[in-house]
């Protein structure tokens, strides 16, 4: 009987996160990381941000993108530690720290986006 492993599911989530982060994050980094702080563009007014962020669709999309992007990052980082540093014997610990970290941040994201307004 084929022993069930978490790897296939983790890979699917990793892939979803890869797409989501590749598609959404660059423009956001460009704006909130560079353009607004550097003064190339003026940041949106508070009212604009308030309306945007409170919209249920925005919150849903933000939550979705955040969670899969966090899992994507955790998955990739886990393999980087495992292969890059050759610390195979700490496999369980690495898994726990990476996916655990993603879980904690996802819960925070969920709490934040749920309790808005």
């Amino acid at each position: 009987m084929h022993k069930r492993s978490a790897e296939p599911l983790l890979w699917l989530l990793f892939s979803a996160g890869g797409v989501a982060s590749a598609v959404f994050v660059p423009v956001l980094v460009l704006l909130f990381g560079l353009a607004f702080p550097l003064g190339w563009l003026s940041p949106p007014s508070y009212e604009h941000m308030y309306n945007l962020v409170h919209h249920p669709l925005t919150r849903l999309v933000l939550f979705g993108v955040s969670v899969v992007s966090l899992i994507h990052a955790a998955h990739r980082f886990r393999f980087t530690l495992y292969d890059g540093l050759q610390i195979k014997h700490l496999n369980e610990l690495i898994g726990l720290l990476c996916y655990g970290g993603a879980l904690v941040l996802s819960i925070w994201a969920g709490y934040l986006l749920w309790t808005i307004g």
């Binding site: 069930r4 790897e7 296939p8 599911l9 699917l12 393999f79 292969d83 195979k88």
Partner: protein
């Protein structure tokens, strides 16, 4: 263009020494000579004790894979003239245990190859009287690229994951499994899934992509692996949601 080139060849004689040494040889380098010609010259004229594998000398048998100036190459397809004035450093294929000089142990790959069942698997063999299996050109095209593998193992040498984790099943084994998975005559996808969808199977691959870069037959094992990851992941998801009996 000098008419001689220096070849720095790794020697390892386990009955005499505990580690590898480098021996230099001056060999002629006519325009059309490949590294293998250089090695054959050394063995024939300079040092008969040099050990290495080769066979067809035309890039189809996969025997003569070695590390030339740090790159995994088929020595029968690598021209000495590529290296200008030289020197040309020839080492055994990396990531494999060395038995002697340039000869590496390939038993690990052989076992992994068998594990993926690289043959047509049928639930029911067609009786001879019904004639041959028919296949359209499009159906052939689906797996043709992966059938080009000559088992030279340059991909294993280039794969850092295989170097770090020898239990990893490796690029060629997965590409060959895909050659059969995608063959319209084959019905063995489920059987191969067991061997492949494990941590040291396809899930160990992090898509470095060097396997595809060094493949002399343009098999694109990295592509085969990524494609199979999607197939296997969806298959696993399906079997989780819909137990096997219901399908």
């Amino acid at each position: 263009m000098a008419d001689k080139i220096t070849m720095q060849v790794t020697r390892y004689r386990p009955e005499e020494e505990s580690g590898a040494t480098v021996q230099e040889y001056e060999v002629p380098c006519p325009k059309d000579w490949v590294v293998l010609d250089g090695l054959n010259y050394i063995k024939d004229r300079l040092d008969g004790s040099l050990s290495y594998r080769w066979s067809c000398r035309m890039g189809v048998c996969g025997s003569c894979g070695m590390t030339v100036n740090g790159e995994p190459k088929l020595t029968c397809e690598t021209f000495l003239s590529e290296y200008g004035a030289g020197p040309v450093r020839v080492e055994p294929l990396r990531n494999f245990p060395v038995i002697r000089d340039l000869v590496v142990e390939i038993g690990d790959f052989m076992r992994k190859l068998v594990a993926v069942k690289p043959w047509i698997i049928r639930d029911q063999e067609k009786p001879l009287i019904e004639g041959e299996y028919l296949q359209t050109p499009d159906e052939l095209e689906e797996y043709r690229q992966f059938s080009m593998c000559i088992n030279c193992m340059l991909c294993y040498s280039a794969c850092p994951i295989y170097g770090l984790e020898p239990a990893f099943i490796g690029p060629a084994a997965i590409a060959l499994a895909q050659r059969y998975n995608l063959d319209s005559r084959d019905q063995g996808n489920d059987e191969r899934l067991e061997a492949l969808s494990v941590h040291d199977g396809i899930w160990g691959c992090t898509f470095v992509g060097e396997c595809t870069a060094v493949c002399p037959k343009h098999v694109d094992p990295a592509g085969a692996i990524q494609r199979y990851k999607l197939t296997a992941a969806l298959e696993e998801l399906k079997s989780f949601v819909l137990p096997r009996k219901a399908r």
